[in-house]
């Protein structure tokens, strides 16, 4: 019997009731009395000198309250970068300024130049058309390799070049790695592109700034995955507002996928303008604006080489990657191609020597930062593609080659500076072979061929490092923040509980899953527990939701705070029963004296805490509320094996996904229904990356894929039902729940499976000269490859 409550059960999500009845409260649903609207006039050239912004006529248009330009932000800080990478020579990365509104130059299509504040959106938009711009267009740099050539136009005149950093990891391994390549029996080389993506949460970004004259407090309502982080960055670095005068609220948020982690100019603008104008100021992004102002993801160009010995053991791995930063450094951009990518290059395999080189490059494009998986999908993709290519070159079975090189002993210290605590890659591969029905593949291939289609099978493994992250470690690596999480468990007098967590929920179902944990610990009903998140005024400092960290880090903080509650409650119960607190046990919502039939109910203890008439006041304080901050001692390492079967139409090159199976090890699982949903969503995005999505700039820096007309989002008919399994469990050893995190796995594990499958399909038709096709595998790319 599956459990019907507590850890391991799948209760229906309580948040669904509001979302299914139209009573959710998203940021755009918030309207404040006296509110003004802002429209941003954005650059339509990729690179240009801003000679003049003449707002005279526009300012006189109906309804216009004020027009702001870069000059208004002369004394205001720019948008900060939260991670400083040190290059291979020990020098800090080049870090350009990032003004709220463009100053002196525009550097990408979409760079905001002026902000028109008016009584209505329509008036603001109308007035924008009356602003006269004098922009001297400059040559744009779009291609990364061209951008780092001598003499290339510079995105930032005050930097020495467009190279943000040239990072080597681990630099001490380089010579030995090169040597191993010289002595290798076989070397497989692959050059590939990890395509630029737009995260596209369905809710566009929104910001509403408010200012209270009587208290001098500012409030920002915003579509954020981490409101406390926004308060810190915006308050301390941009606007100079102390935290106690600044409240950031992220109510219901319609998906994030990374792109709502970062602090954006529009948030700072609305907060700033509301203070200036003493009225609320609201901005709602259109989808078109989102394409040119939300941070994009991926965009790596990589050469990877794998060296094997004569027995097909991996002996060394070497990569060189160009990583696009775009025109400015978004909040966590420098960390993505480095510490979230290089550290994952060992994958699931014993490769003794690894060297990773990453050149991060400024271009005249929208900034690039974390998107679901962030660095880890890029690592997995190149590694799992080069292994597949090696297997073909060597004529060995790709599963066998992987199995032969699996890490099987844990803990395992990789040559790229991380230590995997647990995993069982053989078990997930065994599970995959079963759920994907590999033994039935040949029959399915024949059936496809009988219809005139090619059929291919692609397999890959993945490892993820998530549950980010130990603060002292990331501090050494350049993070300008800690990565703990907090929880306050407030037990009310009648026994109900409010839990204030820094882990924001924007689809992950925390409001349902987190109470399962506490209910299990206390033996009370989940309905007595409410999760409160998304408001800096309500809970302690929290770091937010990203990197599959909410349960592993935020959940652990909740467990720690609940343990404190239990300790104190036991003392109260012991007093009430005149027993020793050492003898008190918590079970089924009651406190028992061990070995007796004496007990007091949860509600009696909580009431005593707040009505302390019969209470050990000399020993403990009244009240029952505890806070814990949890800082993890390591990353967590979910892993798995994925399988995709495709059909390729040889006449058109069109690829369809026929089957997709995922066997994951997420450690312990709190709510299997939610976990499956997270994997489904990740796979959907991974299939999107593999087959459909790609943000494309032309040579002048015009974004050719600026709407859903040109940027192909995966639709229901592009994907099949997925078979997902998470019954392989090796619990995490270093957090109290033994959980690893599941949010990103699907997006990390799926693109290589799709591409491997397409190559397999082509090879089945004798197209053995096709060793790689870059994503997205559109019909025209596949057809061209087949007919080259």
């Amino acid at each position: 019997m599956p459990k019907d409550h507590g850890i391991g059960a799948s209760p229906k999500r309580r948040e669904d009731l509001r979302f299914l009845t139209g009573t959710g409260n998203y940021t755009d649903d918030i309207n404040l009395y006296g509110q003004l609207y802002v429209h941003f006039l954005r650059s339509d050239v990729a690179h240009g000198r801003l000679n003049k912004v003449d707002t005279t006529d526009a300012a006189a248009m109906p309804g216009v309250v004020r027009i702001f330009t870069g000059d208004d932000f002369a004394g205001v800080g720019g948008l900060p970068c939260g991670w400083q990478v040190t290059d291979k020579h020990g020098q800090p990365m080049q870090e350009p300024g990032h003004p709220v509104l463009a100053q002196g130059k525009v550097r990408h299509v979409g760079d905001p130049i002026a902000a028109i504040v008016a009584d209505t959106y329509e008036q603001a938009r109308d007035a924008a058309e009356a602003i006269v711009l004098d922009i001297e267009e400059l040559p744009a740099v779009i291609d990364m390799k061209a951008a780092v050539q001598d003499g290339a136009p510079k995105v930032h005149d005050d930097l020495t070049s467009n190279l943000c950093y040239d990072w080597g990891f681990v630099e001490e391994n380089k010579a030995a790695t090169d040597e191993a390549f010289k002595n290798a029996a076989h070397v497989t080389t692959l050059e590939l592109v990890n395509n630029r993506l737009v995260a596209n949460p369905m809710e566009p970004r929104v910001a509403v700034g408010d200012y209270n004259r009587s208290t001098d407090e500012s409030t920002l309502y915003t579509t954020s995955q981490n409101p406390h982080v926004i308060r810190l960055l915006m308050g301390a670095f941009v606007l100079g507002i102390p935290e106690h005068k600044l409240r950031v609220v992220a109510p219901d948020v319609g998906g994030g996928f990374g792109t709502k982690i970062f602090h954006y100019a529009e948030e700072a603008f609305c907060t700033f303008a509301a203070r200036q104008l003493k009225r609320p100021v609201k901005w709602t992004s259109t989808r078109s604006e989102a394409f040119m102002s939300d941070a994009h993801g991926r965009d790596h160009v990589t050469k990877i080489e794998l060296a094997l010995d004569k027995d097909n053991n991996f002996v060394a791995l070497r990569t060189e990657t160009y990583a696009n930063m775009g025109a400015y450094l978004s909040t966590f951009a420098p960390s993505v191609p480095t510490w979230l990518h290089g550290t994952l290059m060992a994958g699931n395999y014993r490769t003794p020597l690894i060297y990773v080189n990453v050149k991060a490059v400024f271009t005249n494009t929208v900034p690039v930062d974390a998107y679901r998986g962030a660095g880890r999908p890029e690592a997995t993709y190149q590694l799992e593609r080069v292994i597949d290519k090696a297997a073909r070159e060597l004529g060995v079975d790709p599963i066998k080659l992987r199995r032969q090189n699996f890490i099987t002993q844990f803990p395992y210290a990789t040559p790229v500076a991380v230590e995997y605590d647990t995993g069982d890659y053989v078990a997930t591969m065994d599970k995959l072979e079963q759920i994907a029905d590999l033994s039935g593949f040949e029959a399915r291939r024949k059936a496809s061929e009988a219809k005139g289609k090619l059929r291919g099978l692609g397999i890959n493994c993945y490892i993820e490092a998530c549950g980010i992250a130990p603060s002292n470690l990331v501090g050494q690596l350049g993070a300008r923040a800690g990565l703990y999480e907090s929880a306050t468990v407030r037990v009310n007098a009648t026994g109900s509980i409010s839990v204030m967590t820094g882990s924001h929920s924007h689809g992950q179902g925390h409001e349902t899953a987190f109470p399962q944990v506490i209910a299990e610990m206390l033996g009370i009903d989940e309905s007595m527990i409410e999760i409160v998140h998304g408001d800096t005024a309500k809970g302690p400092m929290g770091m937010g939701t990203y990197g599959s960290r909410s349960l592993a880090v935020g959940g652990s903080a909740m467990v720690r705070a609940t343990e404190k509650i239990i300790n104190k409650a036991k003392k109260i119960a012991a007093h009430l029963m005149e027993a020793s607190d050492a003898d008190i046990e918590v079970k089924d919502g009651k406190f028992h004296v061990a070995g007796t039939d004496k007990s007091v109910a949860w509600g009696d203890v909580t009431l005593a805490a707040y009505v302390p008439h019969n209470y050990p006041l000399e020993d403990i304080e009244p009240g029952l509320e505890e806070t814990a901050f949890y800082d993890p001692s390591n990353f967590t390492y979910p892993s798995g094996a994925y399988c995709c079967e495709v059909e390729v139409d040889p006449d058109t090159g069109r690829v369809t996904i026929e089957r997709f199976s995922a066997a994951d090890d997420f450690g312990n699982i709190i709510n299997p229904m939610i976990v499956s949903g997270q994997v489904h969503g990740g796979i959907g995005q991974g299939i999107g990356q593999a087959l459909l999505e790609g943000a494309v700039y032309d040579d002048n820096g015009q974004l050719l894929t600026g709407s859903y007309m040109d940027y192909a989002m995966p639709r229901a008919s592009d994907v099949p039902f997925y078979t997902v399994d998470h019954s392989c469990v090796t619990p995490c050893t270093h957090n109290p729940l033994g959980v690893k995190g599941c949010g990103e796995a699907g997006a990390i594990g799926s693109p290589p499976a799709v591409v491997n499958a397409v190559i397999d399909a082509l090879h089945s038709a004798g197209k053995t000269n096709v060793t790689h096709i870059d994503m997205p595998l559109s019909p025209n790319r596949v057809w061209a490859a087949m007919n080259a």
Partner: protein, 161 residues
Amino acid sequence: MAQVSMTVNGKAASGDVEGRTLLVQFLRENLHLTGTHVGCDTSQCGACVVHVNGKAVKACTMLAAEAEGAEVRTIEGMANADGSLNTVQQAFQDHHGLQCGFCTPGMVMSASALLAENPNPTETEIRAYLEGNICRCTGYHNIVKAIMAAAGQDVSKIAAE
């Protein structure tokens, strides 16, 4: 500014709108029915789907003035009379057919329109019908499953939770 009047979720509604005011703006801003969402500006995403005279319509592609005299139903008007979730809504909750909830109102409105037209759709028909509704969270698995379940089909053989 011109007056428009229509019936929304069974109640008379009217307001002053500009000629360029979209139906979705009228619903959200004038009537404060914020359950209908806006996810794009090219009529692609379906977050804004409502029913106009019984047909699924993208409320971002229709002017408020064009809905003069129409019967409009939004997500706020879908629950049973006693406030409980209707069959489609309940199936979405039962089968975890939503995560962030932003696409959900449009999905429920489209699914309801599909089932009104075709009470027993196949998986392929459901996927094809959802062509105009984008969801970024669910990978569609549980949305399609929920709609099949709402149609009374046995979904227990479909993989996973």
